[in-house]
Symmetry: C4
Subunit: 290 residues, 4 copies
């Protein structure tokens, strides 16, 4: 997840002392309210926005249910347009108050903001695209910015740090899994053939993924004895290797935590003391606890 919108030097930085003009000041204050969550107004804006996003997502979900759509067609259509106009206004304000509009427009949040309003306008030309509005759910990621003020942000950072550290190992692991899926899928296609549902290699690979991840829908199942034996082997393998990503991530979580808990520092040179039993600073040689 990208940190946040665009790191912008707010045009109002120092506006209180110089006050170059009412318009700029308004723009600065609006920027503060819209983009930041440190002031009461900014936080209130974000909370109201989150509620509006939640309501609009709920409206999209409800509209997808046939019985509700038929009964409340008019109301849902109005709500959809109301939310779209509200979000369009917000998008325009963001473009107007941010210093580098182009950079915002192509940032992750900028694109999500744009994609959240397009489908409604598009539905005037192409009916049936309203379901795309669910992309608004991605806007809920702003919740993490509001939570930033609470204790959750530290936790989120620990998770992110552990996941980032695990990524290379997980990548190697997934590459190996993909190769196994390919070979097992092709083998099952040969063994079972069309009747059992293993009609082509992509379908058999889909079965292999369903089986190795222990999801096990049961829409395709082996029928022959050889197929069942190979499937049992694949399951036990999958059961065994489910331990690998878990082991990787757990080791990283433990490491992240350990690194954090070494919170002592040398009184002489200020370096972090990694060895809790140290009697001399490992960097400058100053005696500790003397």
């Amino acid at each position: 997840m990208r940190r946040d919108d665009v790191k912008t030097d707010t045009p109002s930085s120092g506006s209180k002392t110089t006050a170059p003009g009412v318009r700029t000041d308004l723009r600065g204050r609006l920027h503060e309210v819209i983009f930041e969550a440190d002031t009461p107004a900014g936080k209130a804006f974000d909370v109201v926005l989150l509620v509006a996003i939640l309501a609009s997502v709920l409206a999209v979900i409800l509209e997808s249910v046939n019985s509700i759509r038929i009964e409340h067609r008019q109301l849902l259509r109005q709500a959809e347009w109301a939310f779209t106009i509200l979000f369009t206004l917000e998008y325009a304000l963001r473009l107007a108050t941010v210093r580098r509009p182009i950079r915002y427009a192509f940032s992750f949040y900028g694109l999500v903001d744009l994609l959240s309003i397009i489908p409604t306008y598009l539905s005037l030309l192409l009916p049936g695209t309203q379901s795309l509005l669910v992309i608004r759910a991605l806007r809920l990621m702003r919740v993490f910015r509001v939570l930033k003020l609470a204790r959750f942000v530290g936790e989120g950072e620990v998770i992110q740090a552990a996941l980032r550290a695990s990524m290379p190992k997980i990548t190697v692991f997934l590459l190996a899994v993909c190769m196994v899926v390919l070979v097992v899928g092709a083998a099952m296609h040969l063994i079972e053939g069309d009747e059992a549902g293993f009609s082509d290699i992509p379908t058999s690979m889909y079965w292999a993924v369903v089986t190795m991840t222990t999801v096990g829908y049961g829409d395709i199942t082996p029928q022959t004895t050889i197929g069942k034996s190979l499937a049992a082997l694949v399951m036990i393998t999958g059961y065994g290797i489910i331990a690998v990503p878990t082991g990787i991530v757990t080791a990283e979580f433990t490491r992240v935590r350990t690194r954090r808990t070494g919170t002592q520092s040398c009184p002489a040179c200020g370096v972090d003391l990694k060895d809790p039993d140290a009697r001399f600073c490992a960097r400058c040689g100053a005696q500790l606890h003397a």
Copy 2:
């Protein structure tokens, strides 16, 4: 889980020395028997109560089976009323002997105790509500109080401590999972549509949960190639992120254990004592527990 009923100053505290009257004394002794499990009588009361709860839950389970209900209708009905009257009596006694009845009545255990007897009386007005009696199963949580006297309580506390420490991270994780479920559910509804069973977004979200948690009922499965590809991606993602809560909880378990084992320190040099059985400080040689 709340710690226990209401922390009550027993009215009998000191009753042995002052003996203000027979009724108060009786009330105090009853309180000791009913609410505490430290005396033989109190423990016996709790064990008898647990057996009665188990038997009443069993009766509710058996009554839900059609063949048994038809054959033993009379017996089961009698047992139900017997247990209800017994539990009503117990509830009245608890209210009578506890110092702050209102606080008990609105505590977790108080509400469960009340809800355990209401359905039977309710069934006189509304037939078919007996199944609600299974809420009595929650009363079995009292088993943890009886076990408190055994070694299991320490284990339970370790689990609780680890879970409480993991909660913020798990919350952040579940929020992220919910967002993925929402987006994936809407995408599958668009891709697969009505024929495959992805009839609306809530149903598709249900499918996404079933898939990401690797439950995989198979009541709804993707039929198109794109849908199967996205499903495979979701499964592998779910398989990968199952590691995250495990990693979080495991790291906490390791931390809880570490914190527990190293709580003593040398009175002479102040170093942490890593060996709980130590009789001499491992750093300075000072004698301990002398």
Copy 3:
């Protein structure tokens, strides 16, 4: 798993020096061959026995397959009787050579040995009990005794130690899971009712177990919106708490390993040094590495 048969003082202990008689000597040597795996003859006996057990289990498996049973009825029947007579002979020899036959007969291995031969004799009276012969598979546990001589025994001990240490916590955890299964099962029976397959509480509890363990057969699935919502909640809960036993066992594995690696002992009093940085023995105060 019990350690091994009965710890017997072999009657031949010292037979080489005193030689009290040919019969006793033969019995002692037989005991050594049959019960122990330290001598070449004893190991050979165990390996031959394992092969015979494997072959007899394979015969039972093959006999259960209809097409094979019809074709090779005569051969399989003969093999079954051959193995049964062989194992009866071995059982008799064990009883004859062990010092305390009663204790052996009621030990875990003794009971398994007996149960491995009874079904064949029983089938003379009651046809169709041959499938019980598969209990012979339990005799394969003897493989661990043969492996004892190899490096696997240490690994097995680490697993056993970690599991034994985890047991109390796992028990508390399973108790809590059972309670959840009971309450969820009853709730789903109320919500879904007969049509969806939740015909009674035991069946609903079976569904709850199938769901919480992420097995997900799909033979019973919720149909109503409320039922699906509750099911989704149960799945996410199950997904979250699968971390608990894993965390418990992993913490124990880490601890067992750590305890093992502290392999230094005090040269003065011989106690294990649990603190690898110790400069004085934590038990007797003797200076280390002086």
Copy 4:
């Protein structure tokens, strides 16, 4: 995974100084390009080869899909022959440039290389063997050699080290699981019988594997109350023991990491240096790397 082809003393070792002849030199250079990935030419060769392998695997996958095969039969046939001739040429070059062709031919990679071209030639005699071509997917393992130059190799080594260290314990664990599968399978065959799909012991064992690994297809499910109870027990057991391999692998991952970070020791007092960046010993204050 074997390390790599055959460790060969390249015939060109020193060819730049002696230059014994053009042909040998060419062979040496070819060897360098084909077998090694340290030179730009060698890396380019490997990347081109990987792309060709990927394309040929894709062609095999596409050919297995009925609709595509019918439409593009001619094109796919030509691609198959083109790739086969290319890989045959490459195989011949490998045999010609490697010093010990026999050893290469019987190495893991040599066999995979051979098996990757045989099926096409075989299809001239036996139609329908093209699916065997998917064995070419195994050639993608060469990707790990190309990645060797990147940071991924270290990660792969950590995974391999942790898995190799876990192997004995995992083996003991899988042996125990197999025994449980055998006994549970036989018991379910006895309890459920033919109607529920538990027609013979091998099928019941397949069901036991599907259940214990939490895959849960649902193609075979218990119907009787006793069967469902046993199945629920098996699921909870499987849920509990999924923790064992995870615990084993995680403990090894933690150990591997720990061993890596603590390999330096103070030259003055010999204590382990826990801080890899230390410039002074944390115990005695001696200067390091002086």
